[in-house]
């Protein structure tokens, strides 16, 4: 069950520098994680993120997804009402050693990022045959 766990810890900012850092924080996109075909699949909602503005990195068993919201906005627009109040999405996950990080694949379709995390061959599900005695 612990193959993918959320990694971030969010604390209340105290000093001014920390607060500024917090202000640059991004939105946390909702995510679905499920297992199918000897791989873990991540579905992440990132509306407004394009293929070019999305970056996915694996570093030291941490998978980071970051996407900038690219909106086509006319000049001189002022906000009347806003629920999306940041310009980027970001989320990180810790991967377990079972994941073959070389074989991770991702695609984005209509604002939904689909990341496939295949398990290493040694961790594949095996069917054990029951022999007749």
């Amino acid at each position: 069950m612990n193959e993918v766990t959320r990694q971030e810890t969010r604390q209340q900012p105290t000093t001014r520098d920390e607060r500024r850092e917090a202000l640059e924080q991004a939105l946390l996109p909702p995510v679905d994680i499920y297992e199918a075909d000897n791989a873990l699949h991540l579905l992440v909602d990132m509306p407004g993120v394009t293929r070019d503005s999305l970056s996915i990195e694996v570093d030291n068993n941490v998978l980071s997804l970051e996407g900038r919201i690219e909106l086509d906005m006319p000049e001189g627009m002022s906000a009347i009402y806003a629920e999306v109040r940041a310009q980027r999405f970001a989320r990180r996950f810790t991967l377990s050693h079972e994941i073959d990080s070389e074989a991770i694949a991702a695609r984005i379709d209509n604002g939904v990022v689909h990341v496939t995390l295949p398990k290493k061959q040694s961790h594949h599900r095996r069917r054990i045959e029951v022999k007749a005695a």
Binding site: P47, A79, Q87, N110
Partner: protein, 155 residues
Amino acid sequence: MFGDLRRFDTGPSRGVDWFRQLMDEMFPETGAADIRSVPRGSYPMINIGRTDDAVCVYVFAAGLAPEALDVSIQDNVLTVRGQRPEAAPEGTAGEPSAYFRRERAGGEFLRTVALPDGLDADRAEARCRNGVVEIHLPKREELKPRRIAIQATQS
């Protein structure tokens, strides 16, 4: 009791950005938010912006096919209605054997937003790109800001 109306406002720790800055400039601590405001994280989220000649509504509906969304305007109230399939893992063979996390919204949704007066609903256009539906609502001609030429008078 009225604090409930501001529940989507999560304080200064949410990212700062142009939209936030604009909001703060325009409404410095205004008290109650719109009565139609929803808790943070609702699907889809909506932003509304205004230019001199139009109002633009951005519906952040990731993974929604354009034909699955129904946008209508009546009496200056914009209704966005649609349906997103419950976590359809298309493109992968085999059933998901286990879910570890389910945060994405699925199923039917309906949201209504009050719009400013003076919009020309007949000329409204909607476009869908990268999971964001942009609804462009032009203002009526007579309500657009007008430049008044100053004529010199001979003295």
